[in-house]
Amino acid sequence: MSENVDTTQAPLKIGPPRSRLSRLLESRQLGVVALGAACLAPFVTATPYALNVMTTAAIFVMLASGLNIVVGYCGLLDLGYIAFMAVGAYTAGIISKSFELPLIFTIPAVLVMTVLAGLIIGAPTLRLRSDYLAIVTLGFGEITRITANNLSITGGPSGIFGIPGLLKIGGLDVEEPAVLYYVTVLVVAGFVLASARLGKSRLGRAWRFVREDEDAAEAMGIHTYKVKLLAYIFGAIWGGLGGVLFAAHLSAVSPQSFIFLQSALVLMAVVLGGMGNMRGVVIGALVISLLPELLREFASNRYLAFGLLLVIVMVFRPQGFWPARGYERERATLEAGAAAVPTEKRR
């Protein structure tokens, strides 16, 4: 079986994980354990502040898992990712406020708007070199923020406030911080799982192929433009729904929440965690959003540290701290569990 062996590198055997740590980290139960930990966290500390921080972190995980589809799986650099969150949050906020609807009913409109936004940016630029996409998304992020700042329907610089809660059924009001936290955690867990599954699907393999070698992917019959556009649109959907959660959490949306710094932080979560590896991305997102809260003295210079870390990681470990392993086993050996597939080619 040599069809997917990289001839420029000595094949590296990916057997079962060797060390105890990596066996622990790659066990199937890890996701369940993490979800359990997230559900138990309010029993340890449930001050309003702690719940606020944890809900914010969960939303950040949602964003990172969406950006991971674009950057991690497909290798397209999106520097204005927060704009999709802005589109989602503003759409949800405007509709639910003007029609007095709970936020959950705005989701169809949010989906339409974010997909449209993704198409407007992705369609013209994805045919070009990926550098252009990076800078156009950067410009798009700024356009979105400035537009929200200038229009009257978005409330100008002060934004929209007093947004209704996510849902209210009888006595269960999702606006209650603890309830909102659980709802957020469950929704985010679902989307993280969906994103991880997408990465292993046929489409996910196509994405990784495009990332590794676009010309070869095209030669193999992958419609690279369509595949890239799909990655971009999936990312947009994740971002937009993250925006709905954001609007529900803060019950207010303002342009200051969507500056470039936020896009850069999400990107750092994806890159530092390990591009393409959903577990690493979740951990990266948690570290980036929780570390400044835990280490107050670290908070003042964290951006400098993040910037330097980004350069250092890229120079010494371009695949991220915890990259995805090439764990697609060959069909024949799937049952045996002893796979010998080379790592994915990174360079």
Binding site: P124, T125, L138, I143, G307, L310
Partner: protein
């Protein structure tokens, strides 16, 4: 009308100066140097530090002092550009494009927040302001500092054009842009030329930074972000990798912004610039002068 043209010309010459560095680096090693706008910011802050350390400068000498500070700042930012290339970009030459782009974002972040940590996050007032008579030319208000700064910008661009067209290093740059491996085989020290390119590009951005500080009077650590984006837009409009295109693109963008903010209101100025970028990438990604491949460098 003439006022708008003049404003566009003035702002455009700043954009052009920064776009040159973008375009040169992109033309030679196909690297999108996100940190370029921050080198401009660095230049403004170095100029600020130099002028502050010189103490009180009599108003009559302010132009001379500014020129000296400009030269010293160009040297320092040029060196900073070389260091950035050596430490962050060279180890990644030949790496996937995504890794290089992310590194550039990291460098940009490090510069911004490094300066914020050193100089403080609040805006600083520049120690000297260029002042001079304002006079009317064909109905436009033109001030002496504007003319001086535009002359400096024009002189730098003419010098750069001469350097690239007539000197042996310039020829080496153009040949590396065409084919880096063949240039290596022809005995060109590719690394040295790339280092020099970074030096020149960063020095020009630093000059623009000092000039912007002296003209607008206020600097802050995020000032390079938007202008970096706009300089890139200018480079794309003119045809990225093309030196004359970068100059032309800067001027075109200056005009577009001047007229756009006149017609649609100043708060849409930045939206306008990026809309032009997206439009150009959709309709003519090679830019105005892009098809002259042999001219590329």
């Amino acid at each position: 009308m003439t006022q708008l043209l003049w404003d566009g010309l003035f702002v455009g010459s700043f954009y052009a100066l920064i776009a040159l560095g973008y375009s040169m680096v992109y033309g030679i090693i196909k690297l999108l140097n996100f940190a370029h706008g921050d080198v401009y910011m660095l230049g403004a802050f170095i100029g600020f530090a130099l002028l502050s350390s010189m103490g009180g400068i009599p108003a009559s000498l302010s132009l001379g002092a500014l020129l000296i500070v400009l030269l010293v700042s160009m040297l320092i930012t040029g060196t900073a550009g070389v260091l950035i290339e050596r430490l962050a970009y060279r180890p990644l030459r030949g790496a996937p494009r995504l890794a290089v782009l992310i590194t550039a974002v990291g460098v940009s972040f490090s510069l911004e927040y490094g300066i914020a940590a050193i100089a403080g996050p609040n805006p600083r007032a520049y120690p000297i302001r260029l002042e001079g008579g304002v006079f009317q030319v064909l109905g436009a208000r033109v001030s002496l500092p504007q003319i001086v700064l535009m002359l400096i910008a024009a002189a730098l661009m003419v010098a750069l054009n001469f350097y690239i067209q007539k000197t042996s290093t310039g020829r080496a740059m153009r040949s590396i842009a065409l084919d880096a491996n063949a240039s290596l085989l022809m005995g060109i020290n590719v690394n040295a030329v790339i280092t020099r390119t970074f030096f020149i590009g960063s020095a020009l951005a630093g000059a623009a930074g000092v000039m912007a500080g002296a003209y607008y009077g206020k600097i802050d650590f995020l000032m390079g972000f938007i202008i970096g984006l706009k300089a890139f837009t200018a480079a794309v409009i003119g045809g990225i990798g093309n030196i004359k295109g970068a100059m032309l693109g800067g001027l075109v963008l200056g005009f577009v912004e001047a007229f756009g903010s006149e017609w649609f209101g100043g708060e849409w100025r930045d939206v306008f610039a990026f809309a032009v970028l997206i439009l150009f990438l959709t309709l003519r990604p090679t830019g105005i002068l892009g098809e002259r491949v042999t001219e590329r460098m």
